[in-house]
C-alpha cells in the first residue's frame, strides 16, 4: 500500500538518493473471493471519487472499483477540464457550488497535486437579451454564494485586447465572469482519488469489465465480470458514456442518449490566455494549458454515437466559433483532436439515484459538464450508497423526474438530448 506523503522535502530527498524510494501511486488489486460491501462499476473520476468518499466520510472500506480498461481511460482523461459553478436552476446550483468548494480543498485533502487553477471563467455576452439572461444567472449564483462579476465591454476589452469586440455578426457587449472557476489537471484527478481510496483500503481492479448483474427476486447480489462473478451487498453503477449499455443488463432503460463530443489542442504557445473564455453566440470554450496549448471545444456531433471519434463538420464549426471571438487563434496549428462518448440526458441534467432493482444504484447522465461535478458527484453518491438518503444538494437528480414533470432543463430546449 502506498503511504508516500508527497512534500517538497520528499522530492529533495529522492533527488539526492536516485529516486529509488518512490512507490506506485495506488495498489492494483484482484477481486476478493468473499466479495465486497459496495462495488462501484466504472473507474472514471466519479467512480473513484465515490469510493474515496465512501471510505473517508462513511468508514465503508470494503469497496471495489471495477474498471473495464485502465482507470482514467474514459472521459475523465478526455475532457477540456473546465470547472465552474455558474448554473441557474435551484436543482443544480447548490450541487455545483459544493463541487467547487470540494475542488478548492482537494489537493490538501488528497495530498496530491491536481494542478487546480482558479484562473476564472468569462462567459461573453453578445446581445441585450443575453445580457438580461446572464444577469439573472448571476443573481442565482450570488444566492448560492458562488460569486460572480459582471463586466462591461470596456473592461472585457481591457483584460483581453485580442478579442474581436466589434465582430459584425456577434459583437461582444459584456461578460459574466466567475473568478473562482478555472481548470484542473484531469488525469491527476483520477490518480489522486485512486491513491486516496486505495490508501483507505479500497480495491481498484482494472481490466475487469462488468458483463451482467446477478439479480434474484428483484435484488442485486453482485456482478458478472470478465474476471468472474463478484458478490456485493450493494452495487453502484458509474460508467458515464456507457450507462445505457450497462443498465440494460439489469433490465433498466434510461432517459439517456449517447453522443460524441470532440476536443482540440493547439501546439504550445507563449502565455496568451490566463482565463477560460466562452463564446455566447455559438458554442466555443477555450483555455490555455500549462504546457501552452490552447485547449478548446464546442458542440456535440449531434447524432447518436458510441464511437470515441467525431466528424469534420464539427471541427469547422468549433474553429469558426473560435475565429469569431479571438481571430488570433487562426495562426495556431492544431496538434491533436479526440472524442469522448457523453451520456446526454433528456433535460441536460444528471442522475444520482436508487433504481427499481434493490441494492442497485445509478449515477450518470452527466452530459458534457460532468468533470466539474466529479468531487460532488462522488460525495453525494457515497452519501446515498451509505445512508439510503440523497444528499441535500442532490435531491433533484432522480430518475423519475420526467414522469413527475420535474425536469431540470437549464437551456430550456426540451427532451432533445443533442441540443443540451
Amino acid at each position: 500500500m502506498s503511504k508516500t506523503h508527497y512534500s517538497a522535502f520528499k522530492v529533495l530527498k529522492e533527488a539526492l538518493t536516485g529516486h529509488k524510494g518512490w512507490e506506485p501511486t495506488w495498489r492494483d488489486a484482484e477481486p476478493k473471493a468473499d466479495g465486497y460491501d459496495v462495488i462501484i462499476v466504472g473507474g472514471g473520476g466519479h467512480g473513484l471519487a465515490t469510493a474515496y468518499y465512501l471510505a473517508k466520510n462513511h468508514g465503508i472500506t470494503n469497496v471495489a472499483v471495477l474498471e473495464r480498461g485502465w482507470i482514467g481511460s474514459g472521459n475523465v482523461g478526455r475532457n477540456t477540464t473546465i470547472i465552474r459553478s455558474n448554473y441557474l436552476l435551484p436543482g443544480n446550483e447548490p450541487f455545483y457550488e459544493l463541487s467547487l468548494q470540494l475542488w478548492e480543498n482537494l489537493e490538501q485533502d488528497l495530498n496530491y497535486n491536481a494542478m487546480i487553477s482558479q484562473r476564472g471563467i468569462m462567459n461573453l455576452i453578445h446581445s441585450d437579451a443575453q445580457r438580461d439572461a446572464f444577469i439573472r444567472r448571476g443573481n442565482s449564483m450570488l444566492f448560492a454564494d458562488a460569486g460572480c462579476e459582471y463586466l462591461e465591454a470596456k473592461e472585457v476589452k481591457e483584460r483581453y485586447p485580442f478579442l474581436d469586440m466589434n465582430n459584425a455578426r456577434f459583437p461582444i457587449k459584456a461578460a459574466l465572469a466567475q473568478p473562482r472557476g478555472g481548470t484542473v489537471r484531469h488525469d491527476a484527478v483520477a490518480w489522486g482519488y485512486a491513491r486516496g481510496a486505495s490508501d483507505l483500503g479500497v480495491d481498484i481492479i482494472q481490466n475487469c469489465e462488468v458483463t451482467g448483474f446477478n439479480i434474484e427476486n428483484g435484488k442485486c447480489l453482485g456482478v458478472q465480470t470478465t474476471k468472474g462473478d463478484i458478490k456485493a451487498n450493494r452495487v453502484g453503477v458509474c460508467v458515464a458514456g456507457s450507462s445505457s449499455r450497462v443498465m440494460e443488463k439489469a433490465g433498466i432503460k434510461l432517459p439517456i442518449e449517447s453522443h460524441v463530443l470532440q476536443a482540440f489542442v493547439t501546439e504550445g504557445l507563449k502565455p496568451v490566455l490566463d482565463n477560460v473564455i466562452t463564446f455566447g453566440a455559438g458554442h466555443f470554450y477555450c483555455s490555455q494549458s500549462d504546457k501552452g496549448g490552447l485547449v478548446f471545444g464546442g458542440d456535440l456531433d449531434s447524432y447518436n454515437s458510441y464511437a470515441q471519434r467525431g466528424n469534420l463538420p464539427v471541427v469547422e464549426d468549433v474553429c469558426s466559433g473560435g475565429m469569431a471571438i479571438m481571430p488570433m487563434i487562426g495562426r495556431a496549428r492544431l496538434l491533436r483532436m479526440w472524442g469522448g462518448v457523453m451520456d446526454m440526458s433528456m433535460d441536460g441534467s444528471p442522475f444520482i439515484d436508487s433504481t427499481e432493482v434493490k441494492e442497485l444504484f445509478f449515477n450518470g447522465g452527466w452530459c458534457y459538464g460532468g468533470f466539474k461535478a466529479t468531487p460532488a458527484s462522488g460525495y453525494c453518491y457515497a452519501h446515498l450508497l451509505a445512508t439510503d438518503v440523497p444528499h441535500e444538494v442532490a435531491t433533484a437528480y432522480r430518475l423519475d423526474r420526467f414522469r413527475r414533470g420535474a425536469m431540470i432543463d437549464e437551456k430550456g430546449v426540451g427532451p432533445q438530448p443533442n441540443l443540451h
Binding site: S244, L254, S302, S305, N311, R403, N418
Partner: protein
C-alpha cells in the same frame, strides 16, 4: 458522413438535421385512455440507445426537405441503408 439519398445521391450529412431513433414515429395514439400518460412518458423520454445498428430519422433541410430513415452503426458511423421515411412509415400502417 455521406448519406446516400434515394433520389439525390450521395449528400454530406451537414445538409441534414438529426432527430433520433425511428421509435419517434410510433407516437402513442391512445391519448384518451388511462395508460396514455405512461405511454407518452416512455415515448418521449426513454431511449433504447443501442450500440450497433440503429434506424434513425434525418431531415434533408438544405435539400429536398424529405425525411429519411438511415440505418447506421453507432459504433463505427457506417451507413448501411437509406430510404424515405414515408415508405417506412406506411409499411408500418401509419398515415404518412
Amino acid at each position: 458522413m455521406i448519406i446516400n439519398h434515394p433520389l439525390l445521391g450521395p449528400r454530406d450529412s451537414e445538409e441534414f438535421v438529426y432527430l433520433g431513433s425511428t421509435d419517434l414515429i410510433d407516437r402513442p395514439t391512445n391519448w384518451e385512455k388511462s395508460a396514455a400518460a405512461e405511454d407518452f412518458y416512455q415515448y418521449q423520454y426513454i431511449r433504447e440507445n443501442i450500440a450497433g445498428d440503429i434506424q434513425e430519422l434525418w431531415y434533408h433541410e438544405q435539400g429536398d426537405q424529405s425525411w429519411l430513415i438511415v440505418t447506421r452503426n453507432t459504433l463505427t458511423h457506417e451507413i448501411k441503408n437509406v430510404e424515405f421515411a414515408q415508405d417506412f412509415s406506411r409499411a408500418k400502417g401509419r398515415g404518412k
